[in-house]
């Protein structure tokens, strides 16, 4: 069986065709313009993962929100749980880009990292 999917590893969006054997085993991956396509397709059929980007509430900051992302892709099936967890978080300004907001978020092995700098309100 051949399954089509679009690689989302980068904005080019290669259209991959994945040949699956009996019991779902991947036999062949085609259409990728770089090796990430192979990883992506392999993951999609075993444990699909996504980078999550989301805002976290900041106290005493010059902005009310700091943008964050997971530093590694997290399992898609845990996405909702992680989103709800992050919505309840509060951090204090100042926050610097690269600061780890949550380490190993919900045991995924991925850290939640600030993607911008939010200074303290004067």
């Amino acid at each position: 069986m051949i399954k089509k999917l679009t690689c989302i590893s980068c904005p080019i969006g290669c259209e991959l065709s994945v040949t699956l054997g009996e019991n779902g085993k991947i036999l062949k991956i085609e259409g990728n313009r770089c090796p990430r396509g192979v990883d992506y397709a392999t993951n999609e059929f075993t444990d699909p993962k996504r980078i999550l980007t989301i805002s976290v509430r900041v106290e005493e900051g010059e902005m009310e929100l700091v943008s964050t992302r997971t530093d590694k892709p997290i399992p898609k099936k845990k996405l909702n749980e992680i989103i709800e967890y992050i919505k309840k978080l509060r951090v204090n300004a100042p926050v610097k880009r690269g600061d780890i907001i949550v380490e190993n978020i919900l045991e995924t092995g991925s850290n939640l990292v600030a993607t911008r700098t939010v200074n303290k309100k004067d």
Binding site: C7, P11, G13, E15, R33, I51, T53, S67, R97, T117
Partner: protein
């Protein structure tokens, strides 16, 4: 009125303007960047999603990360950047840029000027959709700023109109933030944004995408109450009998970006298809001391390309200021079959450069031809929504007028 002399003046502090400033500053010429908003970064400020920087930084960044890296590259921001400066007028005869700020009217006299004014969103109002004029209709960029910067939600139940990238990104964002996202309607038979965004923004979150659909009518008294949507035929006319009422209090429109060239369009040569100035491979406009880069030249898909253009403009503007004799364009690109947006429109042929183009129609297998000669083949589908970039070299064989075509192949 104060007069200020400067070598390279940059108008606009988004990715293109910041990149131009970095490059110009590094040559040692006096560089100044005018930003009309409170801070630079432009739309990167509010684009908290990832997907930026793969070409430039070889890693995937979010908008704010990309922006802060440019700030760091630029170094002493206060020396170069003037925030809250609005350009009122460019007097190209006297080479003056007239600005308004809290300082009053400041007239800049630059030796070279770089336009990096970016784009604005087409408002839904401009589409002449029948119905009421109600609150609750936003462009995707406004909704994005509201949610990511202002910490406010635009409503409870939303329909996204138009499947441009920001529309898709906002569908996901609003869903994550707890709104009911009923779907995305797209008048064209294909999505307007990257397929990657269709997958990770819509499919991942079970948001339906209705292609060849549009909003027929807007309902409501004061705040939006609902919309009638339906299918359109190949000429975009509504097909009777396909109407469906959807109860929403919010409409988020991603119906196109318009390059902003009001300051120069009356005196530089413009390209009506790109809706931007005609430029060469050095990012020069038809006026030798005015350069341009970014989404005001043509709408790009990737900030990386905008950044690269900004750097080229910055470098060449600085060379111009330093008195280096820049080569004149020798070749022109002429649009042939299936070519929409295309830039640059002319080139010097001195050094390899990147050209960008969009096909007018999608093709499964295709090739780009320069005056009949295949220069690149695609064995994957190309679409108007995905800009093609192509490095041009080997100028010897090219005629002075290069006919560019994107043709179907077997």
């Amino acid at each position: 009125m104060r007069i200020e002399k400067v070598d390279v003046l940059i108008i606009g502090g988004g990715a293109a303007g910041l990149a131009a400033a970095i490059e110009a500053k590094n040559t040692g010429v006096k560089t100044l960047l005018l930003e009309r908003d409170r801070n630079t970064g432009g739309v990167l400020n509010q684009c908290i999603h990832n997907g930026f920087g793969l070409h430039v930084f070889k890693e995937e960044l979010t908008g704010p990360e990309f922006m802060e890296r440019l700030w760091e590259e630029l170094g002493n921001l206060d020396e170069i950047i003037r925030n809250n400066y609005t350009v009122l007028k460019i007097d190209h005869i006297n080479r003056e840029v007239i600005t308004l700020s809290e300082e009053g009217i400041v007239v800049f006299k630059p030796k070279a000027l770089i336009m990096a004014t970016g784009a604005r969103e087409r408002p839904l109002n401009a589409l002449r959709i029948p119905g009421s004029r109600v609150a609750g209709v936003y462009t995707a960029g406004v909704a994005q700023k509201m949610v990511n910067i202002y910490n406010r939600l635009p409503g409870n139940r939303v329909l996204i109109v138009g499947s441009g990238d920001i529309g898709l990104i906002m569908a996901r964002r609003l869903k994550i933030e707890g709104m009911d996202v009923l779907g995305v309607v797209e008048i064209m038979p294909e999505p307007g944004g990257l397929i990657r965004n269709v997958v990770q923004c819509l499919e991942d979150f079970n948001i339906p995408l209705w292609l060849s659909h549009t909003v027929f009518k807007i309902h409501g008294k004061e705040r939006l109450e609902g919309v009638t949507i339906g299918k359109v035929d190949e000429n975009f006319n509504p097909i009777p009998g396909t109407e469906r009422y959807i109860e929403v209090d919010t409409l988020v429109a991603s119906v196109g970006l318009i390059p902003q060239n009001e300051l120069i369009e009356n005196f530089v040569e413009m390209d009506p298809i790109n809706r931007g100035p005609v430029i060469d491979d050095l990012m020069r406009t038809s006026i030798e001391w005015i350069f341009a880069a970014g989404n005001n030249v043509a709408i790009h898909d990737l900030v990386d390309f905008v950044y690269e253009e900004g750097k080229i403009a910055g470098r060449n503007a600085a060379k111009y200021v330093l008195g280096e004799k820049l080569p004149k364009p020798k070749y022109i690109f002429k649009r042939g079959n299936n070519v929409g947006v295309l830039l640059p429109q002319r080139f010097t042929g001195k050094e390899p450069f990147k050209m960008y183009l969009r096909p007018k129609k999608s093709l499964e297998k295709s090739a780009i031809l320069f005056s009949g000669k295949v220069v690149r083949k695609f064995n994957w589908k190309i679409r108007p929504s995905e800009m093609i970039d192509l490095v041009v070299r080997n100028f010897e064989s090219l005629p002075n007028e290069v006919l560019v075509e994107v043709n179907k192949i077997d």
